[in-house]
């Protein structure tokens, strides 16, 4: 077993070696380096062929038509293009948008920008388990609502939203439905031939592809229109200009091809690792699971270890590459807005650790993690005045703290 152990697969994944190999074939003079938009010679044609294959692989994973796939630089760009693009295109129809407080910043900040432009946005509160009550969406819909944007799998707490039900609701109300699927593609089954999803964002590097490439699914039947955010050579049917990055796209295609072939096998193995971790730590005192346990992606475990602060815990876990909802690990010094939105208090948000597993995680690693967690949490609690107070039966909420 090699240290440190990588447990941050939701942040990014290593490229699968099969992906890296395919990408390397598209770079040098001997390789497939041509501009896929070059129509006048074989270099361009060959590159274009590989792009077509990759587009097919991406479409196949989610049961879409390859003509519905638009290449972007990643899920952030896809979210921006989908939300601003649709809101702008349909602004004569209405100016109201609906999303949820636990969305990725790429969605929330796009919404904020639209608010500055005069749109109105409803930010829904999720339930305590992280899931959205569809009745709340229903209640938020207005005649002028044009777009609903709800992520499929949450990046922090791994909960899976019921996009099938939300899609039905949106379609019945003639509202465009965008889904950020950066954390779900290749992990949760997605069938766009039955789901009433109009726009869907994908990323390559969350499923063993390269960073810097993603895609936006734009439905053709019924046809969804978006206003381009990037102007230039009219690539991607005018929706996203810019020379296609052949090696990146080929890498994403290969990653999606592998995901389709292997995701069920991967999931069955990964879910055992996750459940073993939870079983190994859940009996410790003052441990809280964040997010629903059932409606949850296979590789995510997010746990708060009360009375220890997240960043110091991460320092103690120097052999583990994990992330925390603690303020101290963010540049903003705010605790995780996702954990706050599901009603966790600041202390629990500060004390949270996200473990995310993937294709190369092993049970040996999980057993090591469990023993390290027991040892380090105890060490930090011995150092924690809050733990002393808790043990002495003092209600921390009754203490007058001097906020700073």
């Amino acid at each position: 077993m090699q240290l440190p152990i990588y447990l941050d697969y939701s942040a990014t994944t290593p490229c699968d070696p099969r992906v890296a190999e395919k990408m390397a074939e598209c770079l040098t003079l001997e390789g497939n380096f041509g501009n896929p938009a070059s129509r006048s010679h074989t270099f361009g044609w060959k590159a274009d062929e590989e792009i077509d294959k990759a587009r097919q692989y991406v479409a196949d994973l989610v049961n879409a038509n390859p003509k519905e796939i638009v290449w972007t630089s990643g899920a952030t760009e896809s979210d921006n293009l989908a939300i601003k693009g649709a809101a702008h295109f349909y602004k004569t129809r209405g100016n109201h948008l609906i999303t949820c407080k636990t969305e990725h910043k790429a969605v929330l900040d796009s919404m904020r920008q639209l608010e500055r432009e005069g749109f109105e946005v409803t930010y829904l509160d999720p339930e305590a388990n992280g899931l959205i009550d569809i009745e709340k969406i229903k209640a938020a819909i207005r005649p002028e609502t044009t777009l609903i944007s709800i992520m499929h799998v949450n990046n922090e707490i791994g909960v899976i939203q019921d996009i099938a039900a939300i899609g039905e609701l949106a379609r019945a109300n003639k509202i465009i439905f965008h889904v950020d699927a950066a954390q779900s593609a290749g992990k949760v089954d997605i069938d766009l031939s039955t789901l009433k999803v109009d726009l869907m964002s994908f990323s390559a590097h969350k499923i063993y592809g390269p960073k810097g490439i993603g895609a936006l699914y734009v439905r053709r039947k019924p046809r969804i229109r978006i206003e381009a955010q990037m102007h230039g050579g009219g690539h991607e049917r005018g929706m996203r200009s810019g020379t296609l990055a052949t090696h990146q796209i080929v890498g994403m295609g290969e990653a999606f091809r592998i995901a389709k072939a292997e995701m069920h096998e991967d999931n069955a193995r990964i879910v055992k690792l996750r459940d073993r971790l939870y079983d190994g730590v859940k009996d410790m005192e003052e441990v809280y699971l964040n997010g629903d346990l059932e409606q949850r992606v296979s590789g995510n475990m997010n746990i708060s270890f009360n009375f220890v602060e997240g960043e110091s815990l991460i320092m103690a876990l120097k052999d583990l590459a994990v992330s925390s909802g603690s303020a101290c690990t963010s540049s903003s010094l705010e605790p995780s807005y996702v954990l706050r939105a599901i009603g966790r208090n600041d202390e629990l948000a500060h004390s949270s650790i996200r473990f995310t597993f993937g294709r190369y995680s092993t049970m040996e690693e999980v057993e090591f993690v469990i023993s390290v967690m027991h040892e380090k949490v105890k060490k930090l609690r011995d150092l924690s005045p809050l733990w002393d107070m808790f043990k002495a039966g003092i209600d921390l909420d009754s203490v007058q703290w001097a906020a700073h």
């Binding site: 602060e309 997240g310 110091s312 703290w401 906020a403 700073h404």
Partner: protein
């Protein structure tokens, strides 16, 4: 976050962790910070009859720099008079530990903790 070796040393081998009897009139307790902000420090000092700090203990809930700031502080205050201890500046702690700008507030908290502990003793001893 890339920490200095000194922060890591104090974090991994914190000095003077513990609790003194808060009821003792020679013991001053300073508890500062708030759980909601991600750091709470409890610093305790014990003075001898000459008004010199002969022992100091701390417990801290917080990030690595908060733990290191309070650990270093307990080393510094020992052997100082109360007035000397009150003169310790957060900038000195931050400099010694080479805290990055975003973590300077941890040293401010440590300065607040020693001030609060000294105030506590002074009020007890009238």
């Amino acid at each position: 976050m890339a920490y200095s070796d000194k922060v890591i040393d104090h974090y991994e081998n914190p000095r003077n962790v513990g609790v003194l009897d808060a009821e003792d009139k020679n013991v001053g307790t300073g508890m500062v910070g708030a759980p909601a902000c991600g750091d709470v420090m409890r610093l305790q000092i014990k003075v001898n009859d000459d008004g010199v700090i002969e022992d100091a203990k701390f417990k801290t809930y917080g990030c690595g720099s908060a733990i290191a700031s309070s650990s270093l502080l307990t080393e510094w205050v020992k052997g100082k008079t109360l007035d000397e201890a009150q003169q310790i500046k957060n900038t000195e702690l931050a400099e010694e530990l080479a805290l990055p700008p975003v973590k300077v507030h941890c040293s401010v908290l440590a300065e607040d903790a020693i001030k609060a502990a000294v105030e506590d003793i002074k009020s007890k001893q009238g």
